[in-house]
Amino acid sequence: MSVLVYTENWDGKFKKLTYELVSYAFGVAEMLKTELIALSIGNMDRNELMKLGDYGAGKIINITNDQLLSLDNQVYTSTIAEVAMKEGVEVIVISNNNAGKALAPRLSVRLKAGVGSGVSKLPLCINPFTVYKKTYSGNAYAHVVIKSNIKILTLAQNSFVLNETANNSSIENMNVTIDSSSVKTEVKDVQKQTGKILLTDAEIVVSGGRGMKSPDNWGPIEELAELLGAATACSRPVADEGWRPIGEHTGQTGKIIAPNLYIAVGISGAIQHLAGISGSKCIVAINTDKDAPIFEAAEYGIIGDAFKVLPKLIEAVKEIKS
């Protein structure tokens, strides 16, 4: 009865979210007084795999197979389920990112395992197995009991602190046979942004709303983001108007993010927008309207014209950086 964590890699590398995930899974394994097994699919360097051990993985299973080069949900589900059955796992931990959202529900049905989705803290109780999760887009939380023998937990990004734990870990290469006819989806083309900090990975986000008045006014937002090593985001009207790419839309129907610092410039803070950012550790709002709802969600606020405040803010950041 062990805990299995599925660790995705990006071109052979893990990310901070991987280590958050492993730290979380190790916490669950400790609650259950059992071992943590990490599963990695793809061609991985030994040193990179061993990093999973630094966060508590006792056994690291690595699977390489040409049929697993792109994410086919069915084939990945079969592979992870096979490992889970063979290892007799009780809990499977996956990220709540795109890949996790694709795989967790399929695994749930395959293994008849109830899912606690988008959890941000350790289970409240292991008997009955109870998790704490966001509902109504952050307007409420629920205690959810998972009644099945196997449980699946998907962890919200940037919601759990890294926890380094020295562990004697070992790598096991596992072979799986996959018939090429079982791969039904085919990736024809990949377009990747390069060099930009991903919104979902970013620890600091600078976001602009309709108050920026025109797509031509984004210069100071981008400059501030660059100085802070931040990603840029925007509110829904801005994305809908085509001022900024859709991928920057943060809010209920866009990206849900949880950075350490979220700076909202010219965003009034409609409830749908707040639903996407309420997980942020610290929210700063700059708005001309003192009654804007964003100030109710913010830790710090500046009532003022963004076009006057931003240059001063940029100067202040430059000063501390130098």
Binding site: Q74, A102, H143, V144, D189, D240, I302, A316
Partner: protein, 249 residues
């Protein structure tokens, strides 16, 4: 080619969420129910595909799991333009239960493309679509931000971390749909609203499926401490606070 759009009925996003019976049930008084926003976008894209004769899409059906009270939401979908609807007459206990019910119906009525929103804004599970595909043992593509159908051939755009992929997939399959699939949700016309009244809603009784999870209690989030305002003439103070007090930069 036939498309099924699975729709969930959720409290209007501006509703104040309250609970009753010792915080175990949603207080449904004064709630206005709407189609889950992602499902609405899926329906919009499905109808666009049907409007385009070269797609080969002949019909768009909506399916919903819910009691009779949710007929209003179904009629909205019909008014927007769906040809007909399916309702499974039961409460939705959890995602596994709902997906199982929808899979039972899909087994009885054949569909080529099954579209589901990536999340419902009530339980935020991101589960039902993927579960349906696994119940039916058919392919699924998640984080779908674009779908093109030409003469029965399907091309999907899938969002990945920091980019997108173009994918082909054979029918039948489940598309789990996110932002970008359609620009804006289609709005019902007066004619649509009139026509919706006579469109067929097929009723199914639920299959025996055991839910795997149960919500035991709800909690409201902790109230937020008051915003600390900083002089707009002196934003430097903000940077100092962020650096020294909250230590985020």
């Amino acid at each position: 080619m036939k498309i099924l759009v699975c729709i969930s009925s959720i409290p209007d996003t501006t509703t104040k969420i309250k609970f009753v019976e010792d915080n175990t049930k949603l207080d449904t008084t004064d709630i206005q129910w709407v189609i889950n926003p992602w499902d609405e976008l899926s329906l919009t894209r499905a109808l666009e595909l049907k409007d385009d004769v070269s797609s080969g899409v002949k019909s768009v059906t909506v399916a919903h799991v819910g009691l009779a009270a949710s007929e209003l939401t179904i009629r909205k979908a019909l008014a927007i333009g769906a040809d007909d609807a399916i309702r499974v007459n039961t409460e939705s206990y959890d995602a596994y239960y709902v997906a199982g019910q929808l899979a039972e119906v899909i087994r009885k009525e054949h569909f080529d493309i099954i579209m589901c929103g990536i999340e419902s804004s009530d339980f935020n599970g991101s589960l039902a679509g993927g579960m349906i595909s696994e119940f039916l043992e058919i392919p699924s593509v998640s984080a779908v931000s674009g779908i093109i159908v030409e003469n029965g051939q399907v091309m999907i755009t899938r969002e990945i971390d920091g980019g997108k992929e173009v994918i082909t997939v054979p029918v039948p399959f489940v598309a789990i749909v996110q932002k970008g699939i359609a620009k804006e949700p289609r709005i019902a016309s007066m004619r649509g609203i009139m026509m919706a009244k006579t469109k067929p809603v097929r009723l199914y009784e639920p299959a025996a499926i055991e839910p795997l999870t149960q919500i035991v209690v709800f909690e409201k989030p902790a109230s937020h401490s008051a915003c600390k305002f900083i002089d707009p003439e002196n934003p430097k103070q903000l940077i100092e606070l962020l650096q020294n007090e909250v230590k985020v930069i």
